[in-house]
Subunit: 598 residues, 2 copies
């Protein structure tokens, strides 16, 4: 069985491209060292390998089902949760006073990457729990944190995000779940929530739902939406879970993949009262949720990267071992068949995967490092960092979701019929990852967010920051060997971005909002590929610097980085020209299409 | 539930674009009329709807399994086979003397399209049977035809193609199954065959395997490969199936999709002798199989089209019914949510699907009509038609396989979380169709076939024929309203093809076979998109001619055709520029990549 993650590449990304070891110079991380980080990563690999990878296929084949009103999961899932908790990963990024390790965000993302690669379904439970706790850390009262957050940080209770409703998926502004104020300051929550991952299970002592609802009598529209903490079991004064809070499982969704993560329809306030506590101020629900959702979006992107990466490694191992056919130049049919990794078209499929998943990993870790910079980096650059991270978030979420799916299709293709069967994991990854362009904001929503909001906010400052970073990297890499095509293609891409964005943004008012946004997807494609091209230049530059002194496997590793960077520059980056032109001229073909013409 | 096929579009393609009714002027089809064809298509729709669509999901959820050595399928599958047989579809294209209807090939493909759309898994059994019989019709002796072919034509026995072996999938030249001559002129067949669809089941009285094997003592390499008829049960003198022929089921493959079609590992000559009869001359096995495989490749392409088409129709219905969000220009959050078909990005996803599946359907039917022209068309153009069909076959096989998968991904995306669940059929189609770029020759093999063989054979005459057809259509459509962008983009594509192909073909010798073929995939992409662009011009021209007199739904239908043609011209055809340039300069990035650098 192929490894689910490349330790070599993860170390390269963290310590040779990002220089994460330098984080230890910041006071919050002063007790850490590169060795500490490497130990944590090794622990993550071992726990993920032993407790998560080991039941990934079994969980896929035995999707959650209900017996006597209880959701049935494999016993191995509970075992995995225990191992994850005992390794300290529920609280790794938290303050020491909360029992945490104060790990930088980029390191926690690198830790999580192991679990996403090993078993994305089971990893869903801790990640939702961690996200829920992080939101409480920012917005909940100290009393609420003690009551609802600490058990999550300790991994004893689990958490969810309960946003969507049957009639309101992408359109959260239309939710109708109500919160009726009670005399004691709590609220009675009533309504149905759809697509709730981890909504019901027996893995933890309690489940804390973060629920969007409308306070009765409040304003219509998004201003009337507030956020509530609603536990599965009401919490007694001593902090233990008590009687039911009447959050009723109304059904499970049966998904193509990602099957290990139970996905539920929940009815709040069915057969009794669902009591909830308001988080922060009334009317702030969407804003608070989006704080959590931006984290979640980086997490989705990283999850997509890791599924693609695991598929790449599986198909790579297969390609090295499977002999089939001969070089076209070999006319001797009696010579032995060669490993398929020797065929140019198989190398194309492998290079394509490599360029997508290693480019995606670089992007996900870079974005995570920006979260650290926001919290612990130099104060004077935080405003710019914040705008840059805002700009990158829709790309970090959607680009790997889309291109890991392409990579996984390529992984299946490399393996042929074998890849299409359950004898290998790639068909499962392919089914799993297809969720990623959908949840936490569809690709369409990310495109609108990028073009309609992130590219225009603060007078376009986010884009300026991005461009200056890319230009800085272009300058810094000047003169390094083997980077000519990589640098010239990226330069050209940069110019095309600037021209196209200037054109479309300049016409936004004239076009009106609908036509302005009609080709938002092309903005996402164009800028996404450009950003990943930049990530490849960063990797290529690091490889070019290290190559002269490298030997053996290390030298091959750096050669591979350079060739993958070239591949992305030559086989992928030129594709943005099409999107740049479409965007610049505000093509109206889709806008003008009439529903009745279909 | 959405319809699985658009009758309106199928009629448009057959009678307004292809003018299939004119086939009745040929003597073989003199007894037919457009009404006859329409009746046959209606019968196909009704049988497919009632007996095939009705158990598609059930078959997906209950994949074939073995109990007491027998493969278990749903009872509904046998019922479907009976209905298919009673409708006369096993023999529809055969001569009247064989009980057939003498339907043109294009009509039989249109008939089959219904079953591929309704239930691709169950449709596999008759289609393999029909293909097997067609090969026998060409290469088997009269005695063999009576013994092994007639029961297939009558739908009483079923057939398979037994080519691949565990160590030889794409590399058929390396098969090792042996055929030992016996005194009575028959052969004893021994070896393992992998990926055999329909290899074992209880649907029919007997199964006739067409088996590639090497006659002992024969030459090495492909010249030593011959083709054999090997029945599951030996055939008595009175033509009835008798004792076992020792073809033993060694295992079932568990696939991501296409689950209704049993896929097997078979051992020939296990526990006793598997007796086979040589088809035609020794050493002709691969040539004979390829005769069948070219048919099969068009069939795979059509199957892919129909899966994509069914997904498009399902997502279209959903998009008309699901209300979510508002136009960006609508600032009133209290106004009702609109059907998502009103959002530009959803229209983009639907137009993209429409352009792929209707373009693919036009291509599949056009290629099928060339099969008719080869058999019953004007004698003096048959040589050119043959070269054109040879050139198009790798495209007809691989283009819809790839782009229907893109379309199905878009169908899921339109439907969001719903599309990712088993509540709707699109996730199933997505899993089903992922097989199509793999079986009957992978995409890589199709690329090599196109660039390495079809573009060079007969001095490149096939390409000349293609280009003159496209240019003819460009001339014929001059002056028609609304076609400007469609025509100009296709013209430009044509020029890019000519430039790129001239460049790469002119350097074939200098480059050597390996580098020459390194970007064969780009040849497939470039020419594939161009051919489909031509198919869209044909449809757009037919629509432009009909639109002035059309009213109501008909007018909307033609408007939709024109807009989808524009969409393909604007959003898809420009993408070939990248492939043309890569191909023209014989980019060596993949060729130079070393296995150890991965």
């Amino acid at each position: 069985m192929a490894p689910f993650l490349s330790k070599r590449d993860l170390h390269f990304q963290l310590f040779e491209v990002l220089d994460s070891a330098a984080l230890t110079e910041r006071s919050r991380f002063a007790d850490h060292s590169r060795e500490v980080y490497e130990d944590v990563l090794n622990l993550a690999y071992n726990v993920a390998d032993r407790y998560f990878a080991s039941h990934a296929r079994e969980a896929d084949l035995n999707e959650p089902h209900v017996v006597d009103g209880k959701v049935q999961l494999l016993p191995a899932v509970k075992e995995a949760m225990r191992a994850f908790r005992e390794a300290g990963f529920f609280s790794a990024h938290h303050d020491e006073e909360l029992g945490g390790l104060q790990l930088p965000w980029v390191m926690t993302q690198a830790v999580q990457a192991h679990f996403q690669a090993a078993n994305v379904g089971s990893s869903g439970y801790p990640f939702l729990t961690i996200g829920n706790a992080n939101l409480q850390r920012v917005f909940a009262s100290p009393q609420q944190q003690e009551k609802y957050m600490l058990p999550l940080v300790e991994g004893r209770w689990f958490g969810t995000m309960a946003l969507s409703e049957p009639h309101a998926g992408s359109g959260l502004a239309d939710i109708t779940t109500t919160a009726t104020p009670k005399d004691d300051g709590t609220y009675s929550i009533s309504g149905s929530k759809m697509w709730i991952s981890g909504g019901e299970h027996e893995l933890s002592e309690n489940i804390v739902h973060l629920v969007l609802a409308r306070i009765k009598g409040g304003p219509a529209g998004v201003k009337g939406i507030s956020l509530f903490l609603v536990p599965r079991y009401r919490v007694s004064d001593d902090g233990t879970p008590g009687e039911t809070n009447h959050v009723v499982l109304a059904g499970l969704n049966h998904k193509m993949g990602y099957r290990g993560t139970t996905n539920t329809l929940l009815n709040f306030g069915e057969g009794g009262e669902s009591v909830g506590e308001l988080v922060g101020e009334a009317g702030q629900g969407l804003r608070q949720m989006f704080h959590m959702m931006n984290e979640a979006r980086i997490g989705v992107g990283m999850g997509a990267v890791m599924l693609g990466y695991a598929g790449y490694l599986a198909s790579l191992e297969y390609a090295r071992e499977r002999a089939q056919g001969r070089a076209a130049s070999n006319k001797d049919p009696l010579s032995p068949a060669i490993p398929i990794i020797g065929h140019a078209d198989v190398k194309r499929l492998l290079l394509r995967q490599k360029s997508f998943v290693e480019g995606g990993l670089a992007l996900g870790l870079y974005a995570s490092s920006l979260v650290d910079d926001l919290q612990t980096g130099p104060e004077d650059s935080r405003a710019d960092t914040s705008l840059l991270l805002d700009l990158l978030t829709p790309i970090v979420k959607s680009w790997p979701s889309k291109y890991s799916q392409e990579a996984l299709s390529d992984a299946i293709q490399v393996m042929g019929g074998a890849g299409y069967t359950r004898d290998y994991p790639v068909e499962m990854y392919y089914r799993d990852n297809r969720l990623n362009p959908i949840h936490e904001g569809t690709e369409g929503i990310q495109g609108n967010d990028l073009l309609g909001r992130k590219l225009t906010q603060a007078g376009g400052r986010g884009l300026q920051v991005l461009m200056s970073h890319v230009e800085g990297e272009l300058q810094a890499s000047e003169g390094l060997g083997g980077l000519d095509e990589i640098r010239s293609t990226l330069k050209s891409a940069l110019e095309q971005n600037q021209t196209a964005l200037k054109a479309i943004l300049g016409r936004a008012v004239d076009l009106g909002p609908d036509l302005f946004l009609a080709n938002a997807n092309s903005a996402l494609e164009m800028l996404g590929h450009t950003v990943v091209g930049w990530m490849w230049l960063r990797q290529a530059a690091a490889a070019a610097r290290a190559l002269p002194d490298a030997k053996g496997e290390d030298a091959s590793f750096y050669q591979g980085k350079l060739q993958a960077a070239r591949f992305f520059a030559i086989y992928e980056l030129p594709k943005i020209e099409f999107h740049a032109q479409l965007l610049a001229r505000a093509d109206a073909t889709t806008h003008e299409m009439q529903p009745e013409w279909f």
